[in-house]
Amino acid sequence: MEVVRNIARHKLRSFLTISGIVIGVLALTTMGALAENFNALLDGGVKYFGSSIQVGPPDGQSAFLIPITKVDEIKRVDGVGAAFPTYQFQAKPGSAPSFSFGIPDSIIAGDPAENDWAALKVTYAQGHALDPNSTGQVVLGSTIDTEFHKKIGDTIDLPIKPPDAKPDFVNHTFTVVGILNVTRTAPDTFAYITVADGQTLLKDSLPTAIRDQIPVAQFAQAIDVYGKPGSSITDLDNLAVKVNAQVSGVKATKPSDIVNAFKSGGAIFTAITTAAALLALIIGGLSVVNTMFMAVAERVREIGLKKAVGATTMNIMGEFLFEATLIGVVGGLIGYGLGAAITAILNATTPPGQSTLFLVTPALTILAIGFATVLGALAGILPAWRAARLDPVTALRNE
């Protein structure tokens, strides 16, 4: 109780000191939540791209079309476990680009069986997977479902018709058969359709002049390749090299190249946001040092008295350290609380269809409050040491 009274004794000074910590932890929490959200997005990419080989057209080919026969050729490469043709389209063509940390709404056509091979597995909040032999079915990611307020059995026209669409704009009606759980990464903004429907959309996307001359059923836009179960990323890298060597007319990208690009992007973002927040927090910590030195200077006689009545050097040091740590804890809790509240409000007010910006994780909670606590304790060491080393005779007669 005495330590609380000591802090409360100088209300304005304590308020300002704690405010310094609050601002620092607030910055750490919000910036950290931004980084955590971004990293969750990247982690999904790392998981997905780290477990498969992306095969596209060879370098120099501008059209994203690969003969579908390449799927079987790839399957014959030793070490390949599965290969699936895929197609991807903009879900909202013509929409104005907006700044977002999320992935734009997309239509993904593929074989539902691919989910069995992928490391990033999707699960269903409602409904079920696509029937691979059907047409006109769609499974919606959580974000795109929220945006369009769909439930199982509803229909949705895809791609979404832009307000200024030309008269020849074509889209198709799909029935929602499944809605995915939140993944905080790519699948949230995806609408999944079957390969047959993907080929229909591929045909729609071709220039009118050549649309009828290309047998779209014989082409894929890309091929996702999986190694045998238990393949490591190194195995997949080696497999990509083999695919490139043995299958002509395609380009297999090493998974590690994509994963490293994701990781370096995430690391830079995390470093920038965390460094900015830590800087703010350290400045807050310096205010604790200043406050504690002032507290020691004001309480010299008190320290002398406590020593006279039996306090040891460690007793005095402990009392001042506890006080500094308490300032850190209080500042940390308030700063974290404010930061968590702000991020929750901003997430709640994110327009439907846009990915939320913040993710407050248990690790971030521990980091924010823990760092403030440790900072308070560290900031108190020097003042507490000075207090503990005071000569009691001099301290008792201090004016």
Partner: protein, 234 residues
């Protein structure tokens, strides 16, 4: 057996190139239950002797025994423990903590004794009653008069039931009437608890009420007189 024994106790300070002989080879015994006044002019070594006896200072040479313990052999932690358990201090300026109430101030020394708070609260309440401040138990020091504050300090000095209480000009900041009340209180506690009291004072009237008066000059004992019950001390 002496309660406190000073053997050729010496404390020298160095100020610039000059050596100050604050206490210069003092030898004396103070027995349990004595009421001793230490008098002398400013700079005579009174406070230095008190600080040495209270283990706040370490002597330059000589020995100090408290309850037969050679304090020279004690480490810092043991010295702190001895201050907590066997020595009580009362200062001229009371030195009460403004953030604590009367009871909490009296209980302060219990913090530094194992299980002190558990067993000491009742003792603190009893002492507050004995110094006549039961109705002020939850008051803050700023709400007390000088005499009341010094009574709190006296109660605090006794809360761990020490064998020795050291008082440095305890009546220096109060009026004559209050000073006499405080001395009467000390005499009563000295009699009832058989606690050894050593009081440093400039006030010869106060000193005359002690059973023994030690006069210091230039760090040496100039006189050491015992007074038979004439001053009314049993």
């Amino acid at each position: 057996m002496a309660d406190v024994r000073l053997v050729d106790l010496t404390k020298h300070y160095r100020r610039g190139g000059e050596v100050i002989r604050a206490l210069d080879g003092v030898t004396l015994d103070i027995e349990r239950g004595e009421f001793v006044a230490v008098v002398g002019r400013s700079g005579s070594g009174k406070t230095t002797m008190l600080d040495l006896m209270g283990l706040l200072l370490k002597p330059t040479s000589g020995s100090l025994f408290i309850d037969d313990v050679d304090t020279a052999k004690l480490g810092d932690r043991q010295r702190a423990q001895m201050r907590a358990l066997r020595v009580g201090f009362v200062f001229q300026e009371y030195n009460l903590l403004s953030g604590l109430n009367v009871l909490e101030n009296v209980m302060l020394p219990l913090r530094y004794v194992k299980d002190g708070k558990k067993t000491g609260r009742a003792r603190a309440v009893e002492l507050i009653d004995r110094v006549g401040l039961t109705d002020r138990v939850h008051h803050r020091p700023t709400e007390l008069s000088g005499g009341q504050a010094q009574r709190v300090a006296i109660a605090r000095s006794m809360v761990n039931s020490p064998s020795l209480i050291l008082l440095d000009e305890p009546t220096g900041a109060v009026d004559t009437e209050t000073a006499q009340q405080l001395v009467d209180l000390l005499k009563r506690l000295n009699q009832e608890d058989r606690v050894t009291i050593v009081i440093v004072t400039h006030d010869l009237d106060i000193a005359s009420q002690a059973r023994r008066s030690i006069r210091l000059k230039d760090g040496k004992v100039l006189s050491d007189e015992r007074v038979e019950v004439a001053a009314g001390v049993a």
